[in-house]
Amino acid sequence: MKIKQLSIFLENKPGALIAPCSLLAKAGINIQTFSLADTREFGILRFVVKEWEKAQELLLQHGFTVRVTEICAIEVEDRPGGLVSILKVLEKAKVNVEYTYAFTAKYGGKGLILFRFDDVDRAIEALSKAGINVISTSELFKRLTENGN
């Protein structure tokens, strides 16, 4: 139910983003989706790849500060209120959302949003009880493959 996400620390300066990306590119590792959070001085690049262990190893070898975080990929109905129904469950369970980002591709008319929670286990428990589909890693990559990624 949990997806491994890699985060790396970047200084906020021209060219900082290209270094880790070209490293992954050269190793043939495809970034499925990513988000970049930034402050005036530094940024955090977060992304999901299939071969996360290989990517982590590679980035560490090249001197990046890497962190692995467990996040959730949640199926969201593509209609008004689709996101609200999920957020309501989380609010009730008192789980805090640290940040989110999404996959661009849809599957069966549904969107996929990645959530970073302060308490991932509690979030999964509450969402599952409410009948909301939290996608497993194997399911995620199966869908991405079917979508031609």
């Binding site: 996400q5 985060s7 620390f9 970047l10 200084e11 900082a16 959070a37 930034d38 402050t39 001085e41 530094f42 955090i44 977060r46 560490l60 070898q61 001197g63 990046f64 500060t65 890497v66 962190r67 975080t69 640290e98 940040y99 970073r116």
Partner: protein, 441 residues
């Protein structure tokens, strides 16, 4: 893998460490008389200064009379560059060393054959004090060359009978390979370089705790007790503080014993005093002040009451090792390193202490001082380690605020804390450069 050496008998040269106090004081006085007479007879600067004060070497009746002798400073060495303070003719000199000399001319020091032997003995006693002995494999990663660290430690380790690897500083990956392949048991280098070795070993997947390495003889720059704990927990070795400065001899003036309770001064060779750096008055034992040293055996270049600019205190409290030699309080600041920021005295070691309080921050940092619109600003760049890195901006900003808070609480000035990527701060293979002062004063 780590062997304990508590039961190893002391080296015969270490007998001098345990002289009965009365014997030691007797020896100090006779050697001081010899040194002062020699300095007076052979070095114009010392003779002129003593004459000016109306002091004649015969006035030395007790060791306390040393307080009537004039001080010598680093400026005196500069002013007499290169050979002006030599007490031996060139034919008797067998070695030169010189300071790195970041500004202007370097400081030159010289040694006779006997001086070199004495120095080797001082370092032999240093290595022996922390439990090293023949059979140990010593990786000497101090820089070889004009700097006293490399050759000083080399001769001392050889005199002890240890097997020395004269690897010098740099090429860290090779250092780690050799450390592993040769089964190195002790290393000598600057503490900041060893931290770099720890980091590099981690990157290479080498666990230093699994190697036979058990002791580090660290010196040539100020470091803190916290840094010692970090080095010891991350590498599984014992980290010992060795003290010295080229003007007096080089490393080996004082060294910690296995109890790590502050370096014991080899007082039969170097006489210590602690003074008030402003008034020059000798301070009672235990008071913190500037360390002043007088050589008791040196021939080529005797030093009388040399002001080291190192801030410390002396203690004669009995150490568990039984040495009669007094100990120095850990020197983690030099008056040389002092920065004056907005009128406040700040030492890099204080910044280091504050950084170490923030869990997981290894001391890779750089202090940049600048003056913006007439006001001093201090920026502290800190490398982000995996231990403190978080994927949320909130947590990272909290880290920044925490570091800034701890520094402000320690030094009284709130710095601009800048988090930087790993390995972006230049590593030093010798003495670490911690401060860049951009102010045009």
């Amino acid at each position: 893998m780590k062997k304990n050496n508590a039961s190893i008998p002391v080296h015969t040269a270490s007998a001098m460490d345990f002289l009965p106090l009365s014997k030691l004081q007797e020896l100090q006085l006779s050697r001081l008389k010899w040194t002062v007479q020699r300095a007076y007879d052979k070095v114009a600067l010392f003779r002129d200064r003593m004459d000016k004060l109306g002091f004649v070497p015969n006035d030395l009746k007790s060791i306390d009379d040393i307080k009537n002798l004039p001080f010598t400073t680093k400026t005196d060495l500069r002013d007499n560059y290169p050979f002006g303070l030599f007490a031996s003719p060139l034919e008797e000199i067998v070695r030169f060393h010189a300071s790195s000399g970041t500004t202007g001319k370097p400081i030159v020091v010289a040694y006779t054959k006997e001086d070199i032997q004495d120095w080797a003995t001082a370092i032999l006693r240093s290595f022996a004090a922390c439990g090293l002995h023949a059979g140990d494999i010593v990786q000497n990663a101090y820089g070889y060359g004009l700097f006293t660290g490399g050759l000083g430690a080399h001769y001392g380790a050889e005199a002890l009978g240890a097997a020395v690897i004269p690897i010098s500083g740099g090429n860290t990956e090779r250092q780690i390979m050799i450390m592993k392949d040769f089964g190195v048991t002790a290393i000598s280098c600057t503490p900041s370089y060893f931290v770099h070795i720890i980091d590099t070993a981690k990157d290479l997947g080498v666990d230093l705790r699994q190697l036979p390495l058990r002791a580090g003889v660290f010196g040539a720059e100020p470091w803190t007790e916290d840094m010692r704990h970090r080095i010891e927990s991350e590498s599984g070795i014992k980290a010992y503080d060795i003290y010295g400065l080229s003007e007096i001899m080089g490393p080996g003036i004082a060294m910690e014993c296995v109890y790590q309770a502050g370096p014991h001064i080899f007082e039969d060779m170097f006489y210590p005093e602690v003074i008030n750096p402003e008034s020059g008055e000798v301070l009672p034992e235990g008071s913190e002040g500037e360390l002043v040293l007088t050589t008791l055996c040196k021939r080529a270049m005797p030093m009388i009451r040399y002001r080291t600019r190192d801030i410390t205190a002396l203690t004669s409290q009995q150490c568990r090792c039984g040495r009669t030699l007094r100990r120095l309080k850990r020197i983690n600041r030099r008056s040389d390193d002092m920065m004056i920021i907005r009128g406040v005295n700040v030492y890099p070691s204080q910044i280091e202490e504050a950084l170490l309080k923030v869990e997981g921050t290894l001391p890779h940092y750089l202090i940049i001082i600048d003056r913006v619109k007439g006001l001093d600003v201090m920026e502290v760049q800190v490398e982000v380690t995996p231990e403190v890195f978080s994927d949320t901006i909130g947590a990272m900003e909290q880290l920044q605020a925490k570091i800034s808070h701890f520094i402000a609480a320690t030094v009284g000035i709130r710095p601009e804390v800048k988090l930087v990527a790993p390995k972006t701060i230049k590593r030093s293979e010798g003495k670490a450069k911690r401060v860049i002062d951009k102010r045009k004063l």
